[in-house]
Amino acid sequence: MILLLQYTIIFAAVLTLVAIGGCFSEHSGVINIGLEGIMVMGALGGALVMRFSNYPASGNAFTLILLTMLAAVIFGMIYSLLLAVACINFKADQTIVGTAMNMLGTAAATVIVKAMNTRINPDNVSSTIQYINQKKAFLVNLGGFEFSWFMLVTVILLVCSYVLLYKTRLGLRLQACGEHPQAAASVGISVYKMRYIGVIISGFLGGLGGIVYITSGVSEWKFENGVAGFGFLALAVMIFGQWKPHRIAVSALLFGLFRALSNVYMGFNFLATLNIPSGIYNMLPYIICLIVLAFTSKKSRAPKAEGIPYDKGMR
């Protein structure tokens, strides 16, 4: 039971981070389908730091945590610029660019990791990075419950996001650009700047979500697999959460629970006796997602101007 709780919280943390990232981008008016690719890149950045750190032989846990997060965030932000440049400056189709970013994220990460692995050991052609010892820096054992520092980071960022989005001038201006960019521009707000900020924040949170995801439960990651549709689950969480950080956090818990079930269902006697094949549990989060969306999308509160390139001449 504790295990289920632990996995639910950590998966919910991933979904919250990434979904809030998507929420910033969409509030500024840019649909970020590329979250999945951003997660992979963030995960790659973080995993590389862990791979090359000598923890626990040298260096302390705090520095490692900080550096890993920093790398993930920087990788995510730089990668998100691909979306920003194409969609804000060049008015490219946001769906195509996002899709390309998802494919590119996985392909580039695989190429980079394989190149690195073969250089270190010519016989190693896998796309896997291991971080068994380094991962321990993130965990504190509280009587069977493995508390991860990422859980705390998520809560802090959740509060910050809420304040930023609703209580600051920047947040309100950002939202104006997603609702009616021409009106925002007419009162002197730079729509381009706001959209850049929105996309880069989504890169920050998406990258962080990526590293949290690959350290949740496993201690090595095969980059060929990307992040298994988690970026899209996060988008669903965002829609279910009606583009509001606090509601996103609640819906992330729901989706996190179903995702966690596929990891730990063997531990429950009544579930184990039902003898349901593991494939069903793997499908569960996606099925729940579809059902939930079917019932909640009708009264969608999406930012009105999302997905439409900003054109100064339009009214």
Binding site: I33, L82, A86, C87, F90, K91, A92, D93, T95, I96, V97, T99, A100, M101, M103, L104, T106, A107, A108, T110, V111, K114, A115, T118, P122, V125, S127, E224, N225, G226, A228, G229, F232, L235, A236, I239, P277, G279, I280, N282, M283, Y286, I287, C289, L290, L293, A294, F295, S297, K298, S300
Partner: protein
């Protein structure tokens, strides 16, 4: 020449060629970063693909193999293109492709059905899966991109579970068609003889080209096609003109799904590959289809060539020197090309302006 630049098709063509060149260039730069020594050889290996083999016989055989995999890619690309014309982004093509594969292989291996039954089943299953996305879109306002991705994963796990029933006991792969049910293989009609007796060349290859032409006729020359495109251009206008936009969305998705599903049958019913029941990622065919349809300028005829090109470099990636590079370098190039396709609108605008400027100067 000037006329060519001014025409819509000409602009698409130039934009696509630019995307390809830039994509290859970026691929080359990445290779340079990994290991500068072999980069030039590697990129030419990717572009050369089957020319890698010195003998003509081997070249023809591997050219044939590339064609075998081009047929399903073309189907996926047509599926995406068809939906896109109606304003839908069918990212679920991969799942529909998987659904088609699953239905075809299960009927062929588990029930022993003849090939045409399997092909029909693939079409129906692909269409049904896509219909879910269509229904959700038109009645519940669920974005088809999200529902498509969710269905991709649901379908992948379902296919793994279903096809485990017809799997070899010692390996994760399904039985081979040749040993279990030779009647399940799409007939070759002796076409393989043209490609150094490549047994995998079947009716699927010419049929896929015919279907591409059929889709072009459907979209450009029929009232039904016009209605669908009108729905894509402006949903509300189409509605006021008396077109049933909900029905059109569902029908479009079903046709798109049928095409992707058929793609699955076109690959797995040739016996070229077996399904791996422990597969942990959605097949890339549907995603490469996105690349092919945009690179082909969203024209069914253009798709024939762009599908071939994408498959050509993907196959070429397998020949790079594995001690330095990985085969995924072609995936990287493909995804860079799709990314660049996002800029096609911008490139066309520049071309148009340039053409107009030239005209003004001549006067």
């Amino acid at each position: 020449m000037k006329k060519f630049i001014k025409s819509e098709g000409g602009q698409s063509f130039i934009a696509s060629i630019l995307c390809i060149i830039l994509g290859l260039l970026i691929g080359y730069v990445v290779l340079m970063f990994i290991a500068p020594k072999g980069a030039a050889t590697a990129i030419t290996t990717i572009v050369k693909n089957f020319f890698y083999y010195p003998s003509n016989i081997a070249r023809m055989k591997y050219f044939g193999n590339t064609l075998v995999k081009t047929a399903p890619l073309l189907m996926c690309s047509l599926s995406i293109l068809f939906a896109y014309k109606v304003g839908l982004f069918n990212i679920g093509a991969s799942g529909q492709y998987t659904a088609g594969t699953c239905a075809a292989l299960y009927l062929a291996l588990g029930v022993g059905a003849p090939w045409w039954v399997c092909v029909l089943a693939a079409i129906i299953c692909g269409a049904l899966l896509a219909a879910i996305s269509g229904l959700l879109k038109s009645y519940a306002n669920v974005n088809e991109v999200i529902s498509g991705i969710m269905l991709n994963w649901i379908m992948l796990y379902s296919a793994n579970m279903i096809l485990t029933k017809v799997k070899e006991s010692t390996s994760p792969y399904t039985y081979t068609l040749a040993s279990t049910n030779p009647g399940g293989i799409i007939p070759g009609l002796g076409l393989g003889k043209l490609f150094s007796n490549n047994q995998y060349i079947t009716l699927a290859v010419p049929l896929s080209i015919l279907i591409a032409i059929g889709i072009w006729v459907l979209l450009e020359k029929t009232t039904f096609g016009y209605e669908l495109r009108a729905t894509g251009n402006n949903k509300n206008a189409a509605k006021y003109a008396g077109m049933n936009e909900k029905r059109n969305i569902i029908i479009t998705m079903m046709i798109a799904g049928a095409l992707s599903g058929l793609g699955g049958a076109f690959l797995y019913l040739t016996g070229f590959e077996q399904w791996q029941c422990t597969q942990s990622s959605v097949p890339g065919m549907g995603f490469n289809g996105i690349a092919a349809s945009f690179l082909g300028g969203l024209s069914p005829i253009g798709s024939i060539f762009s599908s071939y090109f994408i498959q050509h470099i993907t196959a070429g990636g397998a020949y790079v020197d594995k001690s330095m590079y990985s085969a995924q370098i072609s995936d990287l190039i493909t995804s860079v090309i799709i990314y660049l396709c996002g800029f096609v609108g911008f490139i066309k605008l520049v071309l148009k302006k340039a053409a107009e400027k030239k005209e003004g100067g001549n006067k």
